[in-house]
Amino acid sequence: MSWAGPDDIFLSTSLATYLDKKLLVLLRDGRKLLGLLRSFDQFANVVLEGACERVIVGDLYCDIPLGLYVIRGENVVLIGELDLEKEELPSHMTPVSAAEIKRAQKAEREATDLKGSMRKRMEFLDFD
């Protein structure tokens, strides 16, 4: 991001327009962090205040509070501005505790692992 002058901030790709706003940050490892943008630089390194990780498994979700976070830019996929008037999540989703969402995550991971291993076993049968 080039350092834009005061008139350029509305046209440039600078993150300055997102300062002090509540943002959704997607990371390369699939995590979704929410928080207020307090600082950034040309590498898209970011400081999020009041950060929390939103974990979504099926229809369950949980916000795990994290506090003040510094995120290295190379891990950032996307930074989205949250529209506070719009509902952040569909109404059919239910909030659950951190322990329950971790259980749900584990169950989902085991289901995908099982699917993967079953597929491997079937592949040798060569059904084409």
Partner: protein
Amino acid sequence: MLFFSYFKDLVGREVTVELKNDLAIRGTLHSVDQYLNIKLENTRVVDQDKNPHMLSVRNCFIRGSVVRYVQLPPDGVDIELLHDATRREARGG
């Protein structure tokens, strides 16, 4: 510089950005920079049901390093202009 200039000319057009994590986002190209970071407005995720977290995101900044494709409107490409620019770039670079 060539693609940076090319994207600058496409500001205001509808594009779909496909990311390396397979997320596809449609929106209006607001701005681009030398790293080909992209800012989109009026964004909607292509497969909204699989991405409930993006529901209330209307503007976003996408880091250039995570973009796989930028899908453009079919009339967004002036092939002759692009060819000339590429030849100039190849000669000069």
